[in-house]
């Protein structure tokens, strides 16, 4: 049964390699994109942390800044 699934009447190497290539491409693109996102979040937190209290208070008023900060904290957890 398992041999049949693997060999697929001799077409197994073609079918499995096509599916494996697809999955590997998906995982690679997902990881690269995730790493880029985490890098930008980290950069944002570092820059935000170096600002004065008055400036951070103004930035926190904007929805997008609050959202990035919230997302970065959740990612860290």
């Amino acid at each position: 049964m398992i041999n049949e699934i693997i060999s697929m009447n001799g077409y197994g190497p073609y079918v499995w390699s096509a599916f494996m290539f697809t999955i590997v491409s998906f995982v690679s693109l997902y990881l690269v994109t995730k790493l880029q996102l985490l890098k930008e979040q980290k950069k944002y937190i570092a820059k935000f942390g170096s600002l004065s209290e008055a400036k951070t208070a103004v930035l926190r008023e904007q929805k997008i800044n609050r959202e990035i900060l919230l997302k970065s904290v959740i990612t860290k957890i």
Binding site: I5, M8, Y14, A18, F19, E40, I64
Partner: protein
């Protein structure tokens, strides 16, 4: 007209929906893979090699669909001068390029047992390769051009010029004698593919669309934070 595209609101939606799209993608992909690899029947002519269709065809459809969307967005960038258009286009490109590469590689793998060759300079295959080159040029333009206004214009122009290739890809199998088979699935006309194969194909297409959406959301968030980082530099 574009008040709906408030960046703060958009970021809230895109950042919060990522995990739900990821979970949905895993579920649909698992069902699709079980159907495509184990449950769907083998073809009476191509035997089990027909299973490659379940990754090859959705990948080609997605590559073409994403490029078409990028074309509309690039035209929009020129007409409306709205920066959200190029942001969406830039976020769509990586998944479109990967789908194009998957379509070419899996097509090549499928070609060996079916046609007896890994590659042929056939109209459909060559035009798909040209599409991959346009995707590559678009992504490369964002890497090498530093001036923001110049890169927006050049990258949009690359997509608009590349769009000429889209009808060529679609009708290449009708216009020329090619190794590649004609369309089995028609919007206007009879579909020649049996439901036992059409359903897994539909599920795999849904999984590929969800993956594209997932990458788009992550990439869009990255671009938004990058813009905010540049804003913090100016403070």
């Amino acid at each position: 007209m574009f008040n709906f595209f408030n960046l703060g609101k958009l970021f809230q939606i895109t950042s919060r929906s990522t995990k739900y799209v990821f979970i949905l993608f895993i579920i649909v992909l698992t069902i699709g893979l079980s159907e495509a690899l184990f449950l769907s029947p083998e073809d009476y002519k191509q035997s089990h090699s027909v299973r490659i269709m379940y990754v090859h065809v959705p990948a080609a459809w997605m590559a073409l669909g994403i490029f078409s969307m990028m074309t509309f967005l690039s035209v929009g960038t020129f007409i409306f001068k709205n920066k959200k258009f190029y942001l969406v286009s830039k976020s769509l490109a990586p998944s479109g390029f990967i789908f194009n590469i998957i379509a070419l590689i899996t097509g090549s793998i499928w070609g060996k047992p079916t046609w007896g060759t890994w590659w042929a300079w056939d109209a459909r295959i060559t035009s798909m390769l040209i599409l991959a080159l346009f995707y590559f040029m678009y992504l490369l333009s964002w890497k090498i051009i530093e001036n923001k206004n110049t890169v927006i214009k050049i990258s949009s122009l690359i997509i608009i010029v590349g769009a000429i290739n889209l009808p060529i890809i679609k009708f290449s199998v009708n216009w020329w004698n090619t190794l590649h088979q004609g369309p089995s699935l028609k919007i206007m006309g009879e579909t020649t593919i049996h439901s036992s194969m059409l359903i897994p194909l539909g599920i795999m297409t849904a999984a590929f669309a969800l993956f594209s959406l997932l990458i788009f959301l992550m990439k869009f968030n990255t671009e938004m934070i990058r813009i905010k980082n540049k804003g913090l530099d100016r403070l």
